[in-house]
Symmetry: C2
Subunit: 332 residues, 2 copies
DNA sequence: TTGTAGGCGTTATCAC
DNA sequence: GTGATAACGCCTACAA
């Protein structure tokens, strides 16, 4: 499709009988232009169906109205939520978002970042993979989202993972649970490992609690199978999970073991999902404040662009959504 | 953050001691450049950390390496899957994609489309809202995805909705079901209405079948409540749903009514989701070929760019994923 | 094979 | 308040 030449500012300047500069000023709504001329220019623009060429504009002003977003997996509901919120805020502020998927691949990630830089994005929001080298363009503001890694002090925003788990343990403890398991997919993942550490730390401070971390595979199926094996040997009164996948797998294991929630056992999931609110019993969860995470990421980006608050790290609090899967500990 | 001037082609030309044109040719890997010079240029580029400015390049050649994607809702797993697949294909082909969310709002949609055009995207993939005016830039290839509307012949790709439902009805009929309901959220939505029509048509051709369309509200909760009311009065042997939301709501209703799947009743959902495979019983579904939809959308886009096959419409077949929620009709 | 120069559509800086 | 004119960084005839 050979694109016809689009109508440019020059065309409308000619049509309105003004100079190119004046046309530009009028179209950009700059103060220094007479009301009558402005009218004429705008009219001509509408007549000709003028559409500002943002790529030219961006080239000229060197501050594009585009942000970049690097997400590990676009088919993951949690990341989709993050994306949805960031895109939404950006749009509200008149920015576009270039979305790239890194598929949890560190090599790829570096290439994706380069692509973003080649497009001269104004800044990058990034959920880094575990293998990210950390290398980035110091000229382009970069906000790390959700996953903080023990690296150079990049500005970042994430859940207070330790606090979240502590909240969960408190909640279960107050319901009378003394025998609690944490199901975690892999302690080699930074966030879930933090949650496991938080779990152990929280348990340490409680009287008469028997807390145990069950480390399982990365899929829901593996989680279910391995948890089933554990449940054949012993049984807690409550299970807390450290991720959405773990929640799903645990749910399956409990159904396989014909344990009723919350009468036989309480289940407190991690990360909310629409179906959790609908199923019977609906699933209580530790929910991340995704909107707030996105809002803080945006705020950090603005600060970074204004070169304030370099390297600040923001941690946000989780909240517990109480539904039907959690209840008082059974008295045995 | 006042961005320092980035290193340009001019800088590396100077550093390599060649002319600007040669530098450009070398960096673009054009044939007409000596091996030694090319080497020197590439070396200089690496030394200085040169990064091609794509916005300048795009401006010059007027064929950006960016596509636009308009999606109604970024928090919907089905659309996320579509997006993931399109983004993935685009990336594989060296293109970026600008993602915009229309929130099912037709006014917004027009504005979003304008944004994309302002960025001079190479083409637009779009899942249109019900209220889309259909207006678009004839110069920019537009591929309609998932939702075909009875409009001007835009190239489009979608599920064969009628065929999908026919497949589902055949499947249930063969299992012995004669009393089948279709739960559909709203017949004012084009796709789900097609599914309802397909359901009625498919049932017409079957001996001794009693088929009924239950139209419910737009949320899973409403679906559950309204279906519960219906189930109090009568009960089919199988329920087919017309969307993911409807599936979720139906599931809740069945759990509320304490109907066991598949012994009391069979449930065949629409659109697959990870949790459906994990829960007990796992949910059988009519699944859309999302990868193929994305691949076809891409192919249509390429054809459109080459100005072939204008206005072609592609329909793809659904397939049934048999899991535990469907089984032979109970003999009463 | 290499260098030169014009232009893509804007914005911004000047004179007027 | 308005109008030339010079960038922005790159690509690409075309000339050398």
């Amino acid at each position: 499709m050979a694109r016809a030449r689009a109508v440019t500012i020059k065309d409308i300047a000619a049509a309105a009988g003004v100079s190119l500069g004046t046309a530009s000023n009028a179209l950009s709504d700059r103060p220094s232009v007479g009301a009558d001329l402005k009218e004429r220019v705008l009219e001509a623009a509408k007549q000709l169906g003028y559409r500002r060429n943002l790529v030219a504009a961006n080239l000229r002003r060197n501050t594009p109205r585009t942000f970049g977003l690097c997400i590990p997996a676009l088919d993951n509901p949690f990341f989709c939520d993050i994306m949805q919120n960031i895109v939404s805020i950006a749009e509200r502020n008149g920015f576009d978002v270039l979305v790239l998927e890194t598929r949890e691949d560190g090599r790829d990630e570096a290439a994706k970042l380069e692509t973003l830089y080649a497009n001269r994005v104004r800044g990058v929001f990034m959920v880094p993979t575990a293998t990210w080298s950390g290398s980035h363009d110091p000229e382009t503001p970069l906000i790390v989202v959700d996953r903080i890694r023990p690296t150079e002090g990049l500005p970042s925003v994430a859940l207070d993972n330790v606090g979240a788990v502590k909240l969960a343990v408190d909640y279960l403890y107050d319901l009378g649970h003394r025998d609690i398991w944490l199901v975690v997919n892999s302690r080699s993942i930074w966030n879930t490992n933090l949650r496991a550490e938080g779990f152990e730390a929280a348990a340490l401070g409680k009287d008469g609690i028997r807390a145990r971390v069950i480390e399982v595979g990365l899929t829901a199926r593996e989680t279910a199978d391995q948890l089933n094996a554990e449940l054949a040997l012993a049984r807690p009164t409550a299970i807390l999970t450290a991720s959405g996948i773990a929640t799903l797998g645990t749910l399956r294991a409990l159904q396989d073991a014909r344990l009723a929630m919350p009468d036989d056992i309480s289940l407190l999931g991690f990360d909310d999902a629409p179906w959790m609110d609908v199923l019977r019993p609906s699933i209580s969860v530790v929910a991340q404040p995704i909107e707030e995470i996105a809002a803080q990421a945006w705020a950090l980006m603005q600060a970074q662009i204004a070169s304030e608050g370099n390297g600040r790290h923001v941690e946000l609090d989780a909240r517990i959504i109480t539904r039907e899967s959690t209840g008082p500990a059974p008295t045995r």
